[in-house]
């Protein structure tokens, strides 16, 4: 076991896979010599050199096009899009090309690539550098979508993503980069499409993703200590494929579902979960489903405003105390 930060786990996962398979290559802006603007890829350039770790111009469409073209001809590229907001600049490649090539060509094209990107708010970067857009990717058929909440999950899930034969969008939450956690030693490969139950409780099931997971855990502790409410916390980890069985099982046990989503309200990932729950285990619901989300506004920049806008542990506690009886 080693204690790693979330950002160190990124570099370790990529290094692990690049050592293992010489077809794994990595490209993006400032990822090589500079080790990444978030310092999440430090050391890779030194170990693997400029042929395998390539710094690109500011050309998001070219970055993803290069990833797609190389993936369909035998390489296993990892492409970094620096801020997930910038996916909007190259969304054609993501949604129209990469996601659809295999299907449209009757199964001829292969697309074993990973797009990793720094997602989410909490860093005071303002509305265009703080969005949580994993829900955009969830909506496009043909993309696998992962958003880990801890260093161990980063390492294991990124390794799994790199080994996956399909295109994987890997959303790293930038506010979590400095967070430390224990990561098992040695080769680590997790499984996409699996959720994890982090905490058990009988009164309410909280389903959260990425940066919202630590907040949900903090809220669960306070709910138990101060309010006698015992919460189960489920970390979704993968939006596609979605581990619906775990979610349905855990919500059935308590009869109450609360989602905690960093996305703005409309069509956040939790809306789909709420829909599946209301469809498939309606008769096990003991009360209305509650979604705790960022309001449907661009994220304000000032720290006081940003903190008050994103779902906080305090707000999770407050909503649950008010609405879960």
């Amino acid at each position: 076991m080693a204690e790693l930060t979330y950002r160190e786990a990124v570099a370790e996962a990529i290094a692990q896979e690049m050592r293992r398979d010489e077809n794994v290559v990595f490209l993006g802006e400032d990822i090589g010599a500079a080790g990444g603007v978030f310092k999440a890829t430090v050391g890779l350039f030194k170990e693997f050199g400029p042929e395998r770790v390539r710094d690109t111009p500011i050309s998001e469409q070219a970055i993803l096009g290069a990833a797609m073209g190389s993936a369909m001809t035998g390489l296993r590229p990892i492409a970094e899009i620096m801020f997930s907001d910038f996916l909007a600049v190259c969304w054609d490649l993501v949604a129209n090309e990469i996601a659809k090539a295999r299907y449209m060509t009757g199964g001829q094209m292969s697309m074993p690539l990973v797009i990793r990107t720094a997602n989410g708010g909490g860093s005071r970067f303002g509305a265009q550098h703080s969005q949580s857009v994993e829900n955009w990717a969830m909506m496009v058929p043909g993309l696998k979508v992962v958003a880990p909440s801890s260093p161990a999950d980063v390492k294991g899930l990124l390794a799994a993503a790199i080994r996956d034969p399909d295109p994987v969008m890997f959303f790293e939450q930038k506010s979590l980069y400095p967070v430390k956690g224990f990561v098992p030693d040695g080769e680590l490969v997790d499984e996409l499409g699996t959720a994890k139950v982090l905490r058990d409780g009988g009164d309410v099931t909280i389903v959260a993703l990425a940066a919202m997971v630590p907040r949900a855990m903090k809220a669960a502790e306070e709910l138990s200590d101060k309010h006698g409410i015992q919460a189960t916390v489920v970390d979704v980890r993968s939006l596609v494929p979605l581990d619906t069985q775990t979610i349905l099982r855990e919500v059935t046990k308590t009869g109450r579902l609360v989602t905690v989503e960093e996305n703005p309200r409309l069509c956040g990932w939790g809306a789909e979960i709420a829909s599946i729950v209301a469809d498939e285990i309606f008769w096990d619901l003991d009360g209305p489903i509650i979604r705790i989300t960022t309001p449907h506004i661009p994220l304000p920049a000032a720290d006081a405003l940003e903190d008050a806008t994103m779902p906080s542990a305090e707000r999770i506690v407050r909503e649950i105390v008010e609405k879960i009886d």
Binding site: Y103, Q108, P141, G193, Q245
Partner: protein
């Protein structure tokens, strides 16, 4: 001169291999053939390719009028020389990328006619099993790595394939075909720049047919030669050629491929050509000035090459014989496609993922 019999309908031996396998003909002193760098066999391969494209596209036109081809089709009538010239110069393991106006490039790489016609008619025998349609013709086994419907998207993708060749040091080349309108979209700039910086083995070929959909290209482009005049922005030489002369296309392709394989980076080639029909089946082409079409029809690459072959001493029998042969093959392919049933409904729910499935949940 007897030609080698055409191989079985599905797939064909590429031009170079056929040229190599054919018995060398002793050059008659004094004839044009004697001093030629291209040679008869390659020319006949080019001729066959031109005929295949011309006849298939004409057939597609007819089938559309018979309402057997649904949706829309972007025909390449008039563009044959660009496809035939480049494809003949390519190696079997080179990769090509083209746009939604890509039937000619896909055929030229060796995809079967019934695969192409079948896909246009939405049949089971289609190259894509009916899943993609006219705008996405792909045959990975022939190195035809897709036809792309979003303008400019495939330029960086083609550049990515070149990266594989560079990384693995295979000597493969990636060839990317696009229209004049593409030179104005952002992805063009990004792909050219990065290909030049990384010195990737990719050849960008602009089929400048003077019209961006319904608009004259000059009305919307800041420079006269939409590709040629931008090459300097990427440190590349300006190359503008007669896209309707298959020999010129072939020679230019060879030069570009040699440069790429030697590790000297990308090329940007503008081929001047013209399309005989409208932008798509829905377009009768009324925006073209009177007389323009007629003038270009005089430069029609197919009759022009017929004359070229005659100039080089190839007999009319051979030339016409190949024409008749290809037409018969197109007829056969048409019948095969017509007889092929629509794709089974079970195909709807396959091939999103590598495991063949479409599941997003457990």
């Amino acid at each position: 001169m007897a030609t080698k019999p055409r191989a079985a309908a599905k797939g064909k031996t590429p031009a170079k291999a056929r040229a190599k396998a054919a018995p060398k003909r002793a050059a008659k002193a004094g004839t044009a053939l004697a001093n030629d760098d291209i040679g008869e066999d390659t020319r006949l391969a080019i001729w066959r390719s031109l005929l295949e494209i011309r006849h298939v596209e004409q057939r597609a036109y007819d089938l559309f009028l018979q309402n057997l081809i649904k949706g829309t089709s972007h025909l390449a009538l008039g563009h044959e020389a660009v496809a035939a010239g480049f494809a003949t110069a390519m190696q079997k393991d080179d990769w090509s990328f083209c746009t939604y106006r890509g039937h000619h490039h896909t055929l030229a790489r060796g995809a079967s006619m019934e695969g192409v016609l079948g896909e246009l008619m939405g049949r089971e025998c289609g190259l894509l099993q009916g899943k993609g349609g006219s705008m996405h013709l792909t045959s990975v086994e022939h190195g035809a790595m897709g036809s792309y419907a979003i303008i400019g998207a495939h330029l960086p993708i083609a550049m990515g394939a070149a990266w594989t060749a560079q990384y693995k040091k295979t000597g493969q080349v990636s060839v990317c075909f696009f229209g004049d309108g593409t030179t104005n979209i952002g992805a063009f700039h990004e792909a050219l720049n990065m290909a030049a910086v990384w010195k990737l083995p990719v050849v960008f070929v602009c089929e400048n047919n003077l019209y961006m959909e319904y608009t004259p290209i000059h009305d919307v482009t800041a420079v006269h030669n939409p590709a040629g005049d931008r090459a300097a922005s990427y440190g590349l030489p300006k190359i503008v050629i007669d896209g309707n002369d298959a020999d010129e296309v072939y020679r230019t392709a060879q030069t570009a491929f040699a440069k790429a394989r030697a590790g000297d980076g990308p090329s940007l080639i503008e081929c001047l050509t013209y399309r005989h029909s409208g932008h798509s089946r829905a377009d009768p082409g009324d925006y073209r000035p009177p007389g323009e079409l007629e003038a270009w029809l005089k430069k029609d690459p197919v009759p022009r090459y017929r004359e070229r072959l005659a100039e080089f001493g190839i007999s009319k029998d051979v030339i016409d014989g190949m024409d008749a042969e290809v037409l018969a093959q197109v007829d056969e392919a048409t019948e095969i496609s017509k007889a092929s049933p629509p794709p089974g409904l079970e195909l709807i729910d396959v091939d999103v993922w590598a495991d063949g499935g479409t599941a997003w949940r457990n």
